[in-house]
Symmetry: C2
């Protein structure tokens, strides 16, 4: 029933976690409505997403253009404090924290944590990189590690798992202050709430 | 702050009516997570959306592959009744009606109607094509025109506007039976409800 290109687009696109099959189909028609030139622009913008890199220290996604830089701009910035590290699940959480302009430390993007409180192999690898960096650059102990998981049941579970993993590598472990409504998600908090949560971290 | 390719993608993508800036950004990261090969696949699937065509009779979107066919499969199908025409706003409404398997007439996709009860020039053109077809192929009058606009305030307003436009070109004008909850949208009705709304049209 559906024209072939729309079917193919919808199948591929609805595999993305935030897009359902109905939305994928509606999107297809909206994209078609843009006309040839803007469809090309859209396709190219997706193609260009291949060009981003993962920072080899904090695993955030960055784009360094033609230069061959393996570190993101935060990890390269000499003004950022090396001895405070915030662990976030998602890139978008990092961006939300940066927007508050109240944090001047580094990050580790660990990736979406499971609901079972255990780590995937990629996440173990990322924690391993952090531990090695702490040993090499901070003499074995960071001043503070902020575990910035969501303030809900699974976030709490994963925070205590991460606390166990990291307690020997830092003088202090904190979490974001509960200025954020419990049950909510970091990504959707406004900048002010998130800013005071950073200031009153527990 | 955002890596350049993500910024560009988000800007272009968030212009689509069903995608907000936050979702566009989240999508970018999800797409990056797919890896180079599947990113390419996704971009190609968008590129291929340029290959669809608009049916010159009913204005639905179709894909005829390498052949140079100007009519969609419904307009080409000799088993579909020519003298019953359903007017839908969107392609997705047409698909919902087709899925009920209870309709065997033709369509006119008129495009999203305004809330003012007036027609855009493209919509006037499409109605003109329908009127000419009725004159040429049905001797001046269709047996029935089903005005399948949404059963809400704007849909009602536009239905009476379309009724005025078309009353001289058909023996009967109907709308979908109000089996669909008033205030709802055709696109989200389940197949059964929509099927009985077709059977009990008023």
């Amino acid at each position: 029933m559906l024209p072939e290109p729309i079917k193919i687009f919808s199948e591929i696109f609805s595999k993305l976690p935030s897009i359902g099959p109905r939305q994928a189909q509606r999107l297809a028609y909206q994209i078609i409505g843009l006309g040839k030139a803007r469809i090309k622009e859209l396709a190219d913008s997706i193609d260009a997403l291949s060009d981003v890199k993962t920072c080899q220290n904090c695993f955030s996604i960055h784009f360094s253009g033609p230069t061959n830089e393996n570190l993101c701009s935060i990890c390269r910035d000499p003004k950022r404090l090396k001895n405070i590290i915030a662990i976030v699940e998602k890139e978008t959480d990092l961006i939300s924290l940066e927007k508050t302009r109240k944090y001047n430390g580094k990050y580790l993007v660990i990736g979406d944590l499971q609901k079972t409180g255990s780590l995937e192999s990629e996440q173990k690898l990322r924690l391993g990189v952090l531990k090695k960096l702490i040993q090499k650059e901070l003499g074995g102990k960071a001043d503070e590690i902020i575990i910035a998981t969501n303030p809900n049941t699974y976030g709490d579970l994963n925070a205590s798992m991460l606390t166990n993993e990291l307690k020997d590598f830092t003088k202090k472990i904190t979490r974001l202050g509960r200025g954020i409504p419990t049950g909510g998600e970091i990504e959707f908090a406004d900048e002010e709430t998130l800013g005071s949560a950073l200031e009153r971290r527990i």
